[in-house]
Amino acid sequence: MTVALHEPSTTPSVLKAGTGPDRPPIIDCDFHNELDSIKDLYPYLSKRWRNHLETFGIRHPNSGYYPRFMDHREEARPPSGRTPGSEVGFAREDFLDPYNVEYAILNPLSPVSSALDLELGAALARAANDWQIAEWLDPEPRLRASVVVTPQDPVAAAAEIRRCGADGRFAQVLFMGRLQEPMGRRRFWPIYEACVETGMHVASHAFGAYGHPITGAGHASYYIEDHTSPPQAVQANITSMVVEGVFDRFPSLRMISVENGFAWLPPLIWRLDSAWSLLREEAPHLERLPSEVISEHVYVTTQPIEEPPRRQDFLNLIEHFGDLASHILIASDYPHWDGDNPDVVLPSGLDEELVKGIQCENARALYGL
């Protein structure tokens, strides 16, 4: 018998009393600005690529499609009928104001980053970033954006990062979780070089697929497996970045895990440290314990937050984080169906400073807000 730690999340549109400007502010580290359709990018694309989209469309590796039963919360749909999260005005009214969001980090999940045609991918990434500037950052000063890139073309990605970095309102570069190669591999290093140069970090967001099965043991069957498995990819990516020495080469770079939950991080650290002590001769360039590297460079967002059956288990989990608790960031995943309501996501009775850190101060320090 499993008992939920707290009541199932109410939807963001159903608010508790006393919300709005009187409630403590939050910095939401996973807010999705959505395209209603790819046509939203047409104003930012050249005629050539508009024609391409009209006559061919975008091709992707087709290894990871598990149809959901729904994408978004219906009540987050704007009166215009467009996709939830696709209009800044309505998102402001539905989410940013009532939750007293001081800042929100935009993570646009578009069909851009996995385009197989790399030139099309680069054009789309550029258009998506221009769309973010014009339709999100300009009208709403509380927003910070993630740079959309095609990681499989690191040269083009690095150029796009430098272009966006000059704007000053981009906080990080967005990777999807499941890539062609793990994130530490050398091919991605030009991307990290550009991140460091422009003062941005790199985020690994759940899901995606680039040709491989979505598990380390082949193709799963159900969406429930797709939705359970993001921690697997992000753990492989963190492991890879640590073991390949990315953070030794780029000491100011931070990696933020987004929409992967976070309870897996302490056990990953324990396992990596024991693997390192056993197998370090294979990678003699690693001079420090992986836990030390992770404690400086890796951040995690809460959503979808794990809900242990006993309240004490959650308190223990936070204790297992130790100093790393200052790397936990709140995230709503607005307006997706599985988002966490910031009002109820953390169990009550947590240490006040800890909660303030998770809701606000940890992100402020990380992103320099």
Partner: protein, 336 residues
């Protein structure tokens, strides 16, 4: 004490010659095919262990280790062999060799049926052939497979294992064609080793949501060399997913953690321990049952710490007793 995970070395091809049909002896003699060439561990790495014979095992596991019974497996990678006939022939010969050279020679030793898991029908045949042989108590299934183990492709195999009364032992390793992570091939074995815990998590999810345990209510699974400190957080995640998405898999009627605690047991080695022993105690408690952990030395493989040492010092005597032998005795239905 019952040691739930010790290893006998891979057979050399010439060990198998007396047990292989003449056709295959000729094949191996006259071609460059020398059997399963993949290894689950880099062969010279510290985790691969050294090659020892029966005498060495007796001394280490029974005399010095103090086990009264030990459950062995041979990690011969027949799952890496593309040729289906070669894979099946090697598996059969390996099992005959295990019987003859190990299990019949040492009554305290139990064994694991090697089966070509990439060919579920052939694997089922081999399991049926060996099920009633003295000494075999489980089927060895490498953790990494070409398809997740809950896949319908494997359901007849699970039925066979359930019917045979054997335990399904999912063990570190596997050599399918797929990368070991959802995000491609890592550069280092150290990464593959770390990621294996996530492969176990995937397999657990898959078997539960595909209804394997609903179809096979008497199926027993043991995770070997999986580590266990990752399990509580994965159970929390699975239970949450089930609450939200169970309409997609309506045959899963209970929280996934229930299926886990009823059907799965876990060897204690390797132990990926938190630095603070109090935290380790909390993780053991979070598993939610005292029946789950089985003492395992993983002889002759080397690990970062001695799991038994650490746990027995930390845990209450009664739980220590369960981990030392009672859990294995009851799960493997060993009587006595």
């Amino acid at each position: 004490m019952i040691d739930a995970d010790v290893h006998i070395p891979n057979p050399r091809l010439r060990d198998l010659y007396p047990l292989l049909p003449e056709h295959w002896v000729e094949h191996f003699n006259n071609t460059v095919d020398k059997g399963a060439s993949q290894e689950y561990y880099p062969p010279r790495s510290p985790v691969a262990g050294r090659r020892g014979g029966l005498e060495e095992l007796r001394e280490a596991v029974f005399d010095q280790g103090g086990a009264e019974l030990a459950i062995s497996s041979c990690l011969y990678a027949v799952d890496s062999v593309h040729n289906p006939d070669v894979a099946a022939a090697l598996a059969a010969a390996t099992n005959d060799w295990q019987s003859r050279e190990w299990l019949e020679q040492e009554p305290r030793l139990r064994g694991s049926v090697v089966a070509p898991i990439q060919l579920p029908a052939a694997a089922a045949e081999e399991i049926e052939r060996c099920a009633d042989r003295p000494g075999f108590v489980q089927v060895l299934i490498p953790a990494r497979t070409e398809h997740p183990l809950g896949s319908r492709l494997y359901h007849p195999l699970w039925k066979t294992i359930e019917r045979s009364g054997l335990v399904a032992a999912i063990h570190f390793g596997g050599a399918p064609v797929m990368p070991p992570t959802p995000t491609g091939w890592p550069s280092f074995f150290l990464e593959e080793y770390t990621a294996m815990a996530q492969v176990f998590a995937t397999q657990l999810t898959s078997m539960i949501v595909e209804g394997v345990f609903d179809a096979c209510p008497d199926l027993r699974v043991v995770f070997l060399e999986s580590g266990f400190t990752w399990i509580p957080s994965h159970l929390w995640r699975m239970d949450k997913e089930w609450r939200n998405l169970r309409r997609l898999v309506p045959w899963v009627r209970r929280p996934p953690s229930d299926y886990f605690r009823e059907h799965v047991r876990v060897g204690i080695q390797p132990l990926d321990a938190p630095p603070d022993p109090a935290h380790l105690g909390e993780v053991v408690d979070q598993l939610g049952s005292d029946d789950l952990l089985l003492y395992a030395s993983d002889y002759p493989h080397v690990h970062a710490c001695d799991a038994g040492d650490l746990l027995f010092r930390l845990l209450p005597e009664s739980l220590g007793r369960k981990i030392r032998s009672e859990n294995a005795r009851s799960f493997y239905r060993m009587g006595g």
